[in-house]
Assembly symmetry: D2
Homo-oligomer: 375 residues x 4
C-alpha cells in the first residue's frame, strides 16, 4: 500500500515518472453508461499544459491522452479505464548533477533514504508531471458529476501578495471564470492578472520563485454527502488537496478566520424557502456541516509554497560513497515554473471532482430505501 | 464503507453515540509485544475529560476504559484490541426539542437527509464524545511510538484573539508542556491562560462561544516516512485532523504564510553535521518534504470553529410531518463547552499518533533490504 | 491490516478471545432504516450455541448479545453497530498445560512464531468462539437481504461417510429445513441424522473426532451481482467460507465434478420464459457465471476437517526456554465437539449473508442509471 | 471498488479487454531494490502464450510486455510499476453475432444486466486474455519471493479423467517440473501427457471441450505467514485462485478427503528435529494451520470447468430491442482452447505468488521486535 491509489469506490491509481517513457492512470469503479471521449479528457489536460506562456516552464509536452480500456463505442463500460500520456520532451541530461546532490525544498533526500534508490531525473515520481494523470482521471469524475447537476470550478486566489478579494471569489460566475481561464495567472480579473504577471516576471529575473493560493467551489450538491466520522467530506477533500505537491494549508469555508469568531456570528442561519426547502443566510461553514454537504456551495482554499527549484546557486548537501553527507553548492538546471499556482488550478479542480464523485458513490448505500429503489 | 475506520495497517474503528449505553474502539493491526495497561490509556482519557473546570461542560463522565481483548498478561498479542467506555451521565430529556428541529452549525439536518433517521440526543454519533474512543486508540499508538523514540505533543495555540506567539510554540519543551497541561486553557503560559479564561468567561456570560487553534509537533521521526503520492504524510495528517469535528483549517509548517514567500526564503537549507548527518538550518516545511518526513520536527496547526451549541435563542428550521421545512426558534439545552479547543488538544495529539504510527508500519515494506532483515 | 475486518461496504470487524471477558463485532456500513432488535440476532446465535446436545461440547455459554450502538428506537441509523457477547463459562485452568506445548492440528505453533506471545487459553483468538461474532453480524446481513427477497439457507451435507444425497440438497424446501434445524446433525433427514449420531457417538467413545461438509444456497438473487475480475462473487464467497477455521475445500455449483465434464454437458442452457424472462434448464454453474450472479440459486459446499482437539494422548512438541523445540506427549483437556459441522452450519450461512449483502451494496455504483435514480 | 485490484500491500490492478488496443497491470507497493527486467516477466508470459500447440487456440499473440514505470537502471524504485501488453491479433468481426446473443456458460448475460452495456468482442473484460496482466504482475512477486528462498511451482494434475497420481504430485522435483514444462498438457509425465493429448484431440474433433485441475505448491515458507481471522492464508489463496475464470473448486492440503477422516488420522504430528527445529511427519493440512503457514509445503488444488466456448451449435437466448429475451440458436466462432488448464498453470502460480508475497509484507508489522530491527 504505497499510496498511489485514491478513492474508495471511484478508485484512481496513477503511475509514471517525469522522465520515463510515459505516465498514466487507471480508474476502477467508474459507473457504466457515461459518454466519454479522449476530447473530454484532453480539454482538461490542456488547461495544465506547460509552455503556454512566459509564466510557465518552457518544457513543451503535447500531453496527449490515449484511452486504452473501459470505453466502448464512446461510453464507459464499468470496466477499468486505462489512460496513458507519453512523455515526449524529456531533457534528462539536465539532471546529471542531481544524482547524489539533494535539491533544497525537494523530496530528493527523503526518496533516497526511504527507498535506497531513486530516479533523480526531473523529480522522478515527485515531479509535477504526475498531476497530469490526476487531471485525466478528474476530467472523468467532473463529467459524471456534471451529468448529475454538480459543478466544480477553481481559480487562482493569490500569487505572492497579489490577492483576489473574497467578494470576487464568492461572486464567481461564468463570465469571471471565462476571464480567469483566458489569463496567464488564472485570476478572474485583468488588473490583478497584470499585477501578478509583473510579480512573477520580477521573480524570474531574480532567479527566484513565489507561492500563491487557489480557490475552489462545488455547487449543486445534494444534502448529506460525506461520511460523518473519519471520512468527513472536508477530511477527504483536504487529504486530496494536500496530496498535491507544494500544498501547505487547506481551509474549508471561512477557514482560519473562524478561530477568532463567536458562535453567534459563525453559525449559518437556516431558513425555509417559500417552497419549504432549506436555505442558508450565510455560508461560513463552506457547505459542509459535521462532515456532510449541507446543500450550500462548498468552498475550499489551498495554499501553495513557492517552487523549490530556483536558478540561483544554493548551498546544500550531497551523499558520499560511504553514505555520509557533505556540504556542497548546487545550481539547478532543467525547466521550472517560477510559480506553480496557475497550472495547479485544474489539478485542484480535478482532485475535488474525484473526491466528491467518490463520496456520492459511497452514499449510495446509506439507506435501505435506496437499495429498494434499485433491487 | 461508512468511514468509521481510520488507518491502513494500524486500523482504528470507533463506534457509539453520545447517549447510547457506551462507546468504544477496536484497534486491529497493533503489533504484538507492546506492554499495555488500562492506565496507559486512562491517563490520555483523563486529559480530555469534561467537567474539570469552569471552562468546560458540566457533563461529568468518569470515562473509564475497559480493555476487552488483544492484551494478555499486560502485553499486546497482535489480536484486535477492543476498548469500551460506558456512558454514565446522559441527560437525554434535555434533547427532546431537537427531534424535529435542526441546530444551526450542527450536523442535524445533514444526518436527517442522509439516513432518514437520527439519534438526536446530544449530537448522537457526531457528538464530541466520539473523540473519547479516538483518544483511547491514540494512546496505544503514542505508547508504541515512544518506544521507538518518537514523541508527539500538542498545546492550545489560540483561543479567540488570545494567541500564543510562534516563538513560544517553536520552543516547546517539557517545562512549557507541564505548564500547559496544568492550565485550563492548555496554553503554555500563565498570563495567556488568564487572558483566555477571561475571554471564555465573557463568552459564557454572553451565552456565546469562541473558536481557537491547536499546535502539534512530532519529534524523533526517521527520514522517509509517508508515501510520496496520494498518501503523503501531510495529506494523511490533514485527513486525520480534519476528521475531528469543528476543524476548519490545517497548516503544515509555515502554512498559509508560504504562499507569500519566495523560494529562496522558503527553501530550508540542508547542512551536513560534523558527524556527516543531515541537519536543516530552518524548518519552514514543518518536517515534511514531498509527503515524507525529513527528520526535522513535524509542525501541524489545526483551527477550530466556535462551539455551535450556544445558549441564546436562535432562529432555525424544523421538519414538518409532510417533509417540508418551516421556520422556528430554538433554545438549546444540554451541557456544552463555550470553547472546544482545550479538550481537543489531546484529540489532535492522538489522531497524529495514529497517523504517524500507521505510516511507520506502512513503510516496513518500502525496500527489499527490510524484508531480508526479517525473513 | 491484521485481517479482522471483512467486507468492503458492509464491513464486519470481529474481536475477542475464547477466554477473555467478551467477544464482539462492529458492523460499519449497514444502511439506515433496517428494523433490528437483539432478538433478530439472538435467534441466529442460538443456532450455534454449544451445549445443546450430546453431539457438542459441554461448554455452556448463554451467548447473549447486547447492541451497544447504531440502532435507535428499533431501527438501524447508518452508524456503526457494536455487538458484545460476554464470556461466562471459561475454564481457563483446563489449558494450563498448553502454555508451552503445541496441540497438533491447531494454530498454536503458528501464533507463537508469528507474534512471539499468545493467549493459549482455549485457542485464544483462533477458537471457534470467534465465530459467534460473525454469526451476530451475519444475522443483520441476512435480515437486510430478506427484506430484498434474498434468502440463504444451509444444512449439514455430510458427517464422515454419512452423506446427504445431492437430490435431497437440491430439493431443499421449508419442510426439509425445519427437519434439519430440529435434528442434532442439522441434516434434512431423520434416518441420516441417526446414522450420523451413531458415528459421532462412536468417535466420542474412541476419543476421536470426524469431519464433514455443509451445503448452502442463496435464492432470489438479481442478475449481475459480484465484480468481474478479482472480486468475483465466487471468489469472495470462497474467501469468506475458507476464513472459517477447519474449512479445507470449497465448491461452487458442481465443483470438482466439472473438471471431468465436457463443455456440451456443463454449459447450462438459457431459455426464455413465456413472459420473456431468463431461465436456466440446469444449474451446474451454481448460479454464478464470470463471477456474477446469473439469477439461478447459488450453491456452495464447504468441507471441514475433523476437530483437531481429541482426548487421546498425542505425541507433539514443546518450546524450551532457549527457544528450541523438544518432543513431548499431550493429553488435551477442556471441552470440545467431536464434530464441528452441525454448529458451523449457521456460520456458513452468516458468512454467505455478509458476502452477498456486501456485493449488493458494491453493485449500487455499477451504472450511471442507478445514480440518476437516487440523486 | 469494482474489484480490479488484488492485494493489500503489494497491490495489483489489471485493466484491458480482449479486443481493445492493449491490456496491462499497475503494481503499487513493490519494495525498492529488486532487480527487474522485461525478460524476467516475459519468460512467465511465454508460458501462458496461446498458439504454441495443437492443444490451444490458434490466436497468436506475441504478448510482449513493456515496463513503463517503477524500474530505474534495472532495479525497482518503490514507485508503481506499469506494465503494458499490446493486443495485436484481434479478429473482432468473428464476434459480430454476439452483440445481442448470450453464449451459454459465459458472463455475457451477467455483464449486460449489470452494466447495461458490454464490449462483446471476445469476452471483453472476462476474456482469458485478462490473465496475461496477472501473469506479468505475478512474475514480479515470484522473483521477489525467490530472493527470500520461497519457491512456487504448479503443474496440470488432471485433464478430464486423465489424472496425475497424488504420489507424483507430492514428489514434484526439478526434473518432473522440467518434464511438465516441456509437454503440451503441462503434466509431469510423458505417458499421461499422451493420454491427455488424445482426449483433447477427441474433444476438438467432437466440437467439444473438457475440464481439468492444477496442483500448486509453495516451499520455503517461514512459520506464521497469513492473518488468523478473515485473511487466513488459505482464505486469501482461495480468493486469488477462484478469481481466475472457470475455477469451480479449491482444495488446501487433503481438501475434501479430510471431511471423511478422523482427527487422530488427520492431525499432522509435529516432531523436533535433532537440531531443535520443527518438522511434520505428515502434511494433510497442506502447510497451513489456523490460517497461517506452518513451514511445511503449501499444497493447493484448483478445479476448472470445460471451456464454455464450443464449436457445435447451441440453443440459447438473445435480447430483443424491447428488452425481453427470445430463444435462438448460436454457433460460436473465434479461436478457443478446448481445455483451459495447460495455459492456466502459470496463472495459478502467479496468483499464488501475489498472494504469498502480499502476506509476507503484511506480516512485517506483526511484532514490535520487527519494528525495532528497522527503526
Amino acid at each position: 500500500m504505497a499510496g498511489s491509489t485514491f478513492g474508495n469506490i471511484f478508485r484512481v491509481t496513477t503511475w509514471g515518472e517525469s522522465h520515463g517513457p510515459a505516465l498514466g492512470a487507471v480508474i476502477d469503479g467508474c459507473p457504466a453508461g457515461l459518454p466519454l471521449s479522449e476530447e473530454d479528457i484532453q480539454k482538461y489536460l490542456n488547461r495544465r499544459k506547460p509552455g503556454t506562456s512566459a509564466l510557465t516552464t518552457s518544457r513543451s509536452e503535447s500531453d496527449t491522452v490515449e484511452i486504452l480500456s473501459g470505453v466502448y463505442e464512446g461510453v464507459t463500460t464499468g470496466c477499468p479505464i486505462s489512460l496513458v500520456i507519453r512523455n515526449t520532451s524529456q531533457h534528462s541530461k539536465d539532471y546529471g548533477n542531481l544524482k547524489t546532490t539533494y535539491r533544497p525544498g525537494h523530496a530528493d533526500l527523503c526518496f533516497e533514504e526511504k527507498y535506497g534508490i531513486r530516479d533523480h531525473r526531473g523529480g522522478g515520481r515527485s515531479s509535477g508531471r504526475e498531476t497530469a494523470a490526476r487531471v485525466a482521471a478528474g476530467a472523468i469524475a467532473a463529467k459524471a458529476l456534471e451529468s448529475l447537476g454538480i459543478k466544480i470550478h477553481a481559480v487562482t486566489s493569490s500569487i505572492g501578495n497579489v490577492t483576489v478579494p473574497a467578494k470576487l471569489l464568492e461572486g464567481l460566475n461564468n463570465d469571471l471564470l471565462q476571464t480567469a481561464y483566458s489569463l496567464h495567472s488564472v485570476m478572474p480579473d485583468k488588473a490583478l492578472d497584470e499585477a501578478a504577471t509583473e510579480l512573477i516576471t520580477k521573480c524570474r529575473e531574480a532567479k527566484d520563485s513565489v507561492g500563491g493560493s487557489i480557490y475552489c467551489t462545488v455547487t449543486g450538491m445534494p444534502i448529506g454527502i460525506g461520511e460523518p466520522v473519519f471520512d468527513k467530506l472536508d477530511a477527504t477533500l483536504s487529504h486530496a488537496i494536500f496530496s498535491i505537491g507544494a500544498v501547505k494549508a487547506v481551509e474549508i469555508g471561512d477557514g482560519i478566520q473562524v478561530s477568532e469568531m463567536n458562535g453567534s456570528e459563525n453559525n449559518d442561519k437556516m431558513r425555509s424557502t417559500p417552497g419549504g426547502e432549506v436555505a442558508f443566510e450565510t455560508n461560513h461553514a463552506g457547505g459542509i456541516l459535521g462532515g456532510m454537504s449541507d446543500s450550500a456551495p462548498i468552498k475550499i482554499k489551498a495554499y501553495f509554497k513557492p517552487t523549490p527549484s530556483i536558478y540561483r546557486s544554493q548551498e546544500t548537501i550531497l551523499k558520499k560513497e560511504n553514505g555520509s553527507f557533505e556540504n556542497t553548492e548546487l545550481t539547478i538546471e532543467g525547466r521550472h515554473d517560477p510559480v506553480i499556482v496557475p497550472r495547479a488550478v485544474v489539478v485542484v479542480e480535478c482532485m475535488t471532482a474525484i473526491t466528491v464523485f467518490d463520496a456520492l458513490l459511497q452514499n449510495m448505500g446509506s439507506k435501505m430505501e435506496y437499495l429498494k429503489k434499485i433491487y
